[in-house]
Amino acid sequence: MSNEVSATERQHWLSYPKFLVRAFSVATDGPFSFYAWMTALTAVTLVGANAWANQVTQGMITTGMTDHVSWGLYIANFTFMVGVAAGGVMMVIPAYLYHDKKMHDVVILGELLAIAAIVMCLLFVTVDLGRPDRFWHLIPGIGKFNFPVSMLTWDVIVLNIYLLLNLHVCGYLLYMRFRGEEPNPRWYVPFVLLSIVWAISIHTVTAFLYSGLGGRPLWNSALLAPRFLASAFVSGPAFIIITMFAMHKFAGLALPAGPIRTLVKIIRVVILINLLMLVSEVFTEFYSGGAHTDSARYLFLGLHGYNQLVPWMWTAVGLNLAAAFLFLHRKAMDSAPLLITGCVFAFLGIWIEKGMGLIIPGFIPSTLHEIVEYSPSLIEWKVSAGIWAFGLMVLTVALKIALPILAGRTEEFLPASSKSAIVRNRVGE
């Protein structure tokens, strides 16, 4: 047996490329619906890519941003997606910290979501750069990295490492399944545990980007980082639940009832915490009043007649309340429509509240108390849609590759030719 073990180990440099090829072919194979889905997403991605190329060429005057509101739809989406990426790993906590065996099988789903979300985050900041050709200035050692003073450098580090962590864990698990071997916990459990901590750090660091700015009173609050985490741990699991239902419908995956119940239990608590934090912010702003609360006033009530975001904010509040009600309903665990609706409401509500409902009002009124409102331009919508489509493509491909593991049909992931040989070489614990 030991000879076969060492022979297997020596073949890593052979089997890994094969794994990649197999993964690629699995990812690009499917029924008509799969191709239609991917084609549609590709089309939207290409529209976004073209819009971004035009934006880079003509300048960011093509967006709706100005010197008054200098961050817009891109950073709003970025902020939201960091939360989704962090929340995706939410499932990991019960699996490992509470030894929930059933969660183990679907942990990989959360991590794949995290990968897709982080890719979207990196794309959203890239398209927001005025000079993307100078991206290399950010590389430590080659460029001039303002670490540790600039929180943006912390964000660059933690996001990229988070991506690598999740790629490693998922890649390792999939690769081991491909080779027909049991994954060695030494190679993934520490990384999984690290990714739990890291998930919290990515969203805390992202919150610190905003909360550290004394000149922006709406953001300069100690509560911003906890709020971010609370909304992340609602939006991430909500999306995962939707994904599980989607895979059940389109890929024949059995619904993991246990993990779904666990997730609903988590969401039930955290969505209330999120609402409580919102109430806390609203009270602090409106009870004390004064000029530093003008942004909150703009958001909820309108300021000097400018009220473009007011209907959006109240919609977000309504969606969050409705979602909370649906999740807390005793039928939430059993009724799929109820649950899915709750997840969709929560996802949308948090997208508004944390994205447009946080970034934009931070700039209104400006630091000189001028009021300039913001609407994303068509190019911004196109680029954002393109990145969303690309993210969904990444997620689809990732889930496609991981589907056999999720479905418990790991032997189907193996290469057809060497299946029997590697099954014989299966290493037991």
Binding site: G302, H304, Y306
Partner: protein, 220 residues
């Protein structure tokens, strides 16, 4: 030997004459007190001069009439004021008398009268409050009698603006005198229309009485 001594004495005399002759133009070189003090006491690099834009002497009073070329006809002050044989009456000292003569002259200078600054003996000269004469171009000392705080600010470079160099060891500076900006007869600066505003993409111009375009009664 005698020729050389004579030439030397003549040269010295010429130098002395040239040195003390003041040049009365509208660009008199006249460092302010504080700058003189700095120069005197310091052993630093040489300081460049500060030029004050003193006023040119006024040709006279505009009559309001134009000649066939369209040029305004002005009358020199002495034309009328040299003919006066008796001292001006009390009414002539006040503003009412300006209605007949000095057309176009707006006089709005607090409770001052003409003779507060003008010398009654010489239409082209001024005098200080104690009656002592002051040079025609020296509006700074004239105005400073009452406007002491502004004079103090001016001496320290905080009033009147300047162009040129902040660092006088590297270059010269030109400064305004009082009448560069303030007319002596109606010194309060008038209204100006701003001619240059930023064109913001979305920040619209608004009613000057309201900070923003929208109506919001409870938050004003």
């Amino acid at each position: 030997m005698r020729r050389r001594t004579l030439a030397l004495i003549l040269g010295l005399a010429a130098a002395v004459v040239l040195a003390i002759k003041p040049a009365i133009t509208d660009t008199t070189e006249y460092p302010s007190e504080s700058e003189l003090a700095r120069d005197a006491g310091s052993n630093e690099a040489k300081k460049f001069p500060v030029t004050l834009r003193y006023p040119a002497p006024s040709p006279g009073v505009a009559t309001g009439i134009v000649d066939i070329h369209g040029r305004s006809i002005t009358v020199a002050c002495e034309v009328c004021h040299s003919l006066r044989t008796e001292p001006p009456t009390a009414e002539a000292l006040g503003l009412a008398s300006l209605e007949d003569f000095h057309r176009g002259l707006v006089f709005e200078h607090g409770s001052l009268t003409c003779l507060s600054c003008h010398d009654p003996e010489d239409a082209q000269s001024f005098r200080l409050a104690d009656g002592s004469p002051v040079e025609k171009w020296n509006v700074i000392d004239l105005c400073s009698q009452c406007h002491g705080p502004q004079r103090k600010d001016f001496d320290h470079g905080a009033h009147g603006g300047m162009t040129g160099y902040w660092d006088l060891t590297r270059g010269p500076r030109t400064r305004n005198a009082c009448t560069s900006c303030h007319s002596a007869h109606a010194p309060k600066p008038g209204q100006v229309q701003p001619t240059f505003k930023p064109i913001d993409r979305f920040l619209v111009g608004s009613d000057p009485n309201m900070p923003t375009a929208g109506e919001d009664s409870e938050h004003d």
